[in-house]
């Protein structure tokens, strides 16, 4: 049975189609491309502009949410993450929407209370059809609340096994992890091989897929890889020929580097291997990239400072999704020129701290540790997150513990009580599960703050990001749905000329226009006259800073 998968099908039907498929399916990972190569700045209207072609292209799913995108939506784009999902759903009604979730850390950096996790998943699952769930330590218990809630909603659960390289990362280890997951979830899931840093050779991936299938022959496998080293096409060919049914890809129009490899390259290559991309319309795929080539110019200021593949990632292992933010930090911090040193240090730190997976929030811990080590001396300024990691607050380290000298430096850092590291570890170590919050009380507080009833979506945003959630809700009340504006207006530099007109459509398809009539400056106040939908307005803006 070779059929395109659509939202009209039940989870059971979809899994059945995948199990029987001779060919393979594609997931367009817009979210990871945006995060890895454009600092998560792709705006919803870009998604809308390309949506007709992506919808026609016949993807298994499009990942439009999760990871760091949820926080960046609120912080940098003033887009409601739920609104973003609704926009995508309206624009692509037949295509499954996908999100990546960091287990107990959800879309954040630290573990959330159990009831916050469950409420969040319930709200997002109203729109997210496919849940790619991982834990950076592959600690399955950290993922269980998300697994349970996703399965309750009837959406597709895609538990992920984070992949890396090194002597500990054997096929046997991963096979056992898959079994551990399946023991919790049952067989009606899709297991994802999460190769977020783009590691390993095609041969290595082929071996892994075969090992998993040998042990669990009926399991559906998905492959997610970053193309940092430029070789993810090779790994995907190996994965699909070994039996993987879904691969994460990018539009070639976005020309991703740290994100996913181009869909069309994979399709053209695998054809030669006798493998067909099921349901994919190549013409639509090409048209989508034609649109995106134009869109890409809007986001040029957000592209990474390092452009081009980096095969040395095999050593420092940083996830593609963290590339944008880390390089940005280095640039803003004035130590971009020390990047080769820092990446070398990152390779060392990776091994010293346990050779686990460099993905959020672990990637941030490794990165911060490497930077601090280079700038201030090795482990001289350990972060709180590194301390929590060594204390086991995120879960047990999978392979080995850091050497004693590291534990000593980290755990005894700035301790006024003079306690030794092993004492600290004994007294404070272990996974700490945050206590449930009183959701009714939190809602009441929020309602008091805004003097209006708040939706569960608003509450969830607030619980996930108390500060940025509030800031966003205030922005939304004052400025409305600014995502309706063309992205080139949102990122506008240089203001507007008098007589310039901004046109856009609202959610109901009604056209609107705002024309700038005049701009007059009086001290720190700027008075702007506008024609808003053909009616004259004046606005005065007091410049700050």
């Amino acid at each position: 049975m070779e059929a395109r998968i659509t939202t009209a099908m039940s989870t059971g039907e979809i899994l059945e189609v995948l199990r029987r498929a001779e060919g393979y399916y594609l997931c367009n990972n817009e979210r990871d491309v945006s995060q890895s190569d454009f600092k998560n700045r792709l705006m919803p209207m870009t998604t809308v502009r390309v949506a007709p072609y992506r919808e026609a292209a016949g993807f298994f799913s499009i990942e439009v949410s999760g990871g760091a995108s949820v926080h960046v939506d609120l912080m940098r784009k003033q887009v409601n993450p739920f609104e973003r999902l609704r926009i995508a759903r309206r624009a692509m009604p037949n295509t499954l929407l996908q999100a990546v979730c960091r287990g107990a850390s959800l879309f954040g950096y630290r573990h959330y209370p159990d009831n916050v996790i469950r409420s969040t998943v319930r709200e997002f699952a109203k729109y997210v059809n496919v849940w790619r769930v991982y834990d950076f330590l592959n600690h399955v218990p950290n993922m269980i609340p998300v697994f349970e809630e996703v399965q309750k909603t009837g959406q597709i659960l895609m538990p992920s096994i984070c992949f890396s390289t090194g002597k500990e990362h054997t096929d046997d280890y991963y096979v056992e992890k898959v079994k551990e997951v399946l023991d919790v979830t049952g067989p009606d899931v899709i297991i994802s091989i999460k190769n977020h840093s783009g590691l390993g050779t095609p041969k290595r991936i082929s071996s892994l897929v075969e090992a998993i299938h040998k042990s669990c022959p009926d399991i559906i496998l998905h492959y997610h890889g970053c193309n940092t080293d430029g070789n993810d096409i090779g790994r995907m060919i190996a994965a699909v020929t070994a039996g993987v049914k879904i691969c994460d890809v990018a539009d070639h129009g976005l020309g991703a580097v740290y994100g996913q490899a181009p869909a069309l390259t994979l399709i053209q290559t695998l054809e030669d291997y006798g493998k067909k991309a099921v349901g994919v319309d190549v013409e639509a795929l090409v048209k989508a990239s034609d649109v995106l080539r134009n869109e890409r110019r809007i986001y040029e200021p957000f592209e990474n400072v390092f452009r081009g593949h980096d095969p040395t990632v095999a050593s420092y292992k940083l996830t593609g999704g963290a590339a944008g933010s880390t390089f940005e930090q280095a640039d803003k911090g004035g130590f971009l020129d020390r990047m080769p040193e820092i990446l070398d240090e990152m390779s060392r730190v990776q091994v010293e701290l346990g050779n686990w997976w460099s993905v959020t929030p672990g990637s941030q811990i490794l990165w911060t540790t490497a930077v601090n080590n280079v700038l201030y001396g090795r482990y001289e300024r350990p972060s709180l997150d590194l301390k929590n990691l060594i204390l086991g607050r995120y879960g047990p380290l999978p392979f080995y513990d850091p050497q004693e000298w590291i534990c000593k430096k980290v755990l005894e850092y700035q301790r006024a009580d003079g306690k030794k590291w092993h004492q600290v570890l004994a007294e404070e170590g272990g996974l700490v599960k945050p206590r449930d919050v009183d959701l009714d009380r939190e809602r009441e507080e929020l309602e008091k703050k805004f003097s209006r009833p708040v939706s569960t979506e608003d509450l969830v945003l607030y619980l996930l990001y108390p500060f940025d959630g509030i800031s966003f809700l205030k922005f939304e009340a004052q400025y409305g749905k600014t995502w309706l504006l063309p992205p080139e207006v949102w990122f506008r530099h240089g203001g507007f000329e008098n007589g310039e007109r901004v046109t856009f459509q609202d959610e109901n398809g009604k056209p609107h226009s705002i024309e700038i009539i005049s701009t007059r400056r009086e001290g720190a106040t700027v008075i702007i006259s506008l024609m808003v939908d053909h009616a004259f307005h004046t606005q005065s803006v007091t410049l700050e800073g």
């Binding site: 940098r76 600014t482 207006v489 990122f491 240089g494 203001g495 700027v526 506008l530 009616a535 606005q539």
Partner: protein, 483 residues
Amino acid sequence: MEQQLMFEKILVANRGEIAVRIMRSAQELDIKTVAIYEETDKDAFHITQGEEAICVGPGPRKDYLNIDGIIEAARKTGAQAIHPGYGFLAENPDFSKACTDAGLVFIGPPPEVISNLGSKVIARQIAIDAGIPVIPATDNLSSEGQGEEEALAFAAENGYPIMIKAVSGGGGRGIRRVEDKKGLLDGIKRSRSEAMMSFGNDAVYLEKCIRRPQHVEVQILADHQGNVVHLGTRNCSIQRRHQKLIEMAPAGLKKEFADRLCTSAVKVTKAANYLSAGTVEFLVGAEGEFYFLEVNTRIQVEHTVTEMVTGIDLVREQLLIALGEPISFTQQQVVERGYAIELRINAEDPKNNFLASPGKIQVYQGPGGHGVRLDGAIYQGYEIPRYYDSMLVKLTVYGYTWQEAVDRLARALKGFVILGVKTTIPYFQQILHEPDFIQMKFDTSYIDTHPHLVEYLEEEREMEKIARLIAEISAYGFNPHAQ
């Protein structure tokens, strides 16, 4: 036989929507119109609607109330008649008399009629003599201690609550409800003091309070030939502090009962030797009893609902009557069809105790379409002066059924775009979705018994919010929220 016109030009001694309304009917009769204005009102819309305009003084308000000044304005402009509209001098018998004395036609009742009906005590006696039930009440209370004794005796006979009313009051002013002896004695003192300040006359009387009544009124026309016709009922029960908020026609009474009210209204009008357009007001009790309340000797704000259901132009009839013409139709020709509802869109903040919200109308767009009538006097860019009433526009809708009228009203309210000031629109939108209103279950306590109606969210239009961001990008040269 063709009637000789007694006037070809009228001066409209008013402002705002009613001035525009009067001018429209006059212009349809090819009568020229003169607008008056105070300096403080020089941007008012009505000024642009008359063929001529004349400033009557610096204002505010006092020159619209200056009888001599207005008579002089009529003389200067050659107007031969004056229409007073409502409010200001409309029910001042001295104004009617001054017009007559100056050889001008006063488009309204003669001074003695205004005077008699303006006195609640005389008006009440006229009703009693005509056999119309009246609310048990005292005569004007005597002064000082004797007045208190009279009040206590009345309370002993009729019980509480009791209404204290100023003899010269109107429009909801000078009325106080008291629940007990202490409230009664204190209230009399306060009412006297307020009445003296407001009306220059401290006379008050007491009236039995009818609990949760409906406020029903009958529109009347009377001509020089002695014809009196009624144009059916209106229900004005939805009031806030005795100020009407929503009015509708017909009143929603059973036909036989409505006929009794209308017949009573005609009787009172005839007994008062009435002339021109007027309104006879009644209170209708929960048990179906009714009481004469008063006669308003003017065209009323809510006259539009009667016009919508009867198709009759009341101001045109006023003008024709003033010209000596008989009423254009007979009682039998008056037919009420469907329902009409009128709302006053005021520049007020319902959430802030309906406090006036003066300011500049940044954007104004009104609704239209079948069964929607707007009587307004605002325009985009108009700075609402703080000296006058806060009414922006009157919305009247017609529906073949009550539900159709309610639905149309909701649709029409949605069609308004008024930016720059707070308005009563969101409050009315709440009422239109309130079950008691939809089922026509209301009396004069409606607003007090539905306090939750002010609990609405003030939603700014999406485009205004987005325009704010465009302005910021323009001012900064970049988007300060996209960094």
